[in-house]
């Protein structure tokens, strides 16, 4: 009984400190998110570009943290990087869709004006 308690305490302590696994899968997923934002037109939209840069910076920082063994903090930053990249892509999509809609509305006005 005593032994079990000590063992459990040891396991919990180990989990809380340095045995947090390196978030490699999450890191790869974040890289993919950044790639999608880049190819989705984020660099051309100022708002989106800002969030894309934040994502890239967070990703760099998280890489350094993994190298230093701070996996837990790295995992947090990677999560932030992912939503930054996702937001960058959403903003780019929003702007593109709005531009297309405006263009189509202008076409309608033109076609009606030509009657």
């Amino acid at each position: 009984m005593r032994f079990a308690t000590i063992a459990l305490l040891a396991a919990v302590l180990a989990g809380c400190s340095s045995s947090f696994p390196p978030p490699n899968d999450e890191y790869s997923a974040a890289q993919a998110d950044v790639g999608r934002a880049e190819s989705g037109g984020a660099p051309a939209v100022p708002d989106a570009k800002l969030h894309l840069q934040l994502a890239q910076e967070d990703l760099q920082k998280s890489k350094a943290l993994i190298d230093n063994g701070d996996n837990k903090r790295a995992a947090d930053l990677i999560s932030v990087a992912r939503v930054e990249a996702q937001l960058a892509l959403s903003l780019a999509k929003q702007l593109q869709a709005e531009e297309q809609a405006r263009k189509a509305q202008a076409d309608v006005a033109k076609a009606k004006g030509g009657q």
Partner: protein, 294 residues
């Protein structure tokens, strides 16, 4: 979920209130505000999934804040940033969807406008084609009529030329402003002072009647004398002689309503009355064939 968030917020507020002095970090305040925006606008209608994601993220952020109660706790701040970004993603996605709907509406409208314009243009084209076909029909009809009239005219001219050629063999034929003028000498037609036709005259008039028959052209027979004798007598003689010729031609098939007679006496001489020859030329009958009334 919503209740969960509300509870978390209430709990956090309660803790803050109880603690009395620890305000939530700015990142969490911003996240709450953006989540409220996403929840309040059209975003919830258009993109409920992302709003739900944002809700879950905000709950996590609230829990992290509750656990730490430290405004500088990096984990809690990151969770708040994630929650805010997710709310922003929901709003951007909803805005994109709204724009796509507007795009579709505009496309439909453009299509409808184009269709109606196309139909209008087709209608105009049909009308123009019908008009063209009508005009072409009229043109070909007019062309056919023109050709027919031209042919009739050519036939008439040919007939007239034939008649003129025939008459020219037995009488002097000329054209003046009255029409075709056939001049017959008085000696050939009548004895001196008489107005009944000589037998030889009838033969000539038969030929003239043959040539003029069927022309349907109005004619006037004029009688002329020389200037010898009383004017009244000459007027009377010229009238009677013209009438004889007119009656004879009428008896030979020239329509009576187309031919008239008129005595001119010594008027309009064609030669001097000072010589025998001149006076002989002035004693004459002229048959004037007027141009056909059209």
């Amino acid at each position: 979920m919503r209740i969960g968030t509300v509870l978390s917020v209430v709990a956090a507020a309660g803790l803050v209130a109880c603690g009395g002095e620890v305000p939530a970090p700015k990142a969490l305040v911003d996240a709450r505000a953006d989540y409220a925006k996403a929840k309040g606008g059209i975003t919830l209608q258009l993109d409920p999934t992302d709003v739900h994601e944002a809700d879950l993220a905000l709950q996590k952020a609230e829990s992290a804040w509750q656990s730490s109660q430290d405004p500088n706790d990096e984990h809690a701040i990151d969770q708040a940033i994630i929650a805010q970004r997710k709310a922003q993603i929901a709003m951007a996605e909803a805005a994109a969807l709204k724009a796509q709907q507007e795009l579709q509406t505009a496309k439909n409208e453009l299509e409808a406008t184009m269709q109606s314009q196309l139909q209008a243009t087709r209608g105009q084209l049909d009308k123009t084609q019908r008009n063209l076909a009508q005009t072409q029909d009229q043109l070909s009809l007019t062309a056919a009529q023109a050709a027919e009239q031209k042919k009739q005219l050519a036939d008439l001219e040919a007939k007239l030329k034939d008649a003129r050629d025939t008459i020219a063999k037995i009488a002097a034929v000329k054209d003046d402003d009255r029409g075709m003028v056939i001049t017959l000498q008085g000696e050939v037609l009548f004895k001196t002072g008489k107005w009944d036709l000589k037998p030889g005259a009838m033969a000539k008039l038969d030929q003239i009647a043959d040539a003029l028959r069927g022309k349907e052209q109005p004619m006037v027979v004029y009688g002329f004398t020389d200037n010898v004798g009383a004017i009244d007598m000459n007027m009377d003689l010229s009238q009677k002689r013209a009438q004889s010729v007119r009656d004879y031609l009428a008896s030979k098939g020239i329509p009576g309503d187309l031919i008239t007679a008129e005595g001119k006496g010594p008027a309009a001489p064609i030669a001097e009355n000072t010589s025998v020859e001149g006076r002989a030329q002035n004693r004459r009958v002229e048959i004037v064939v007027k141009p056909k009334k059209s």
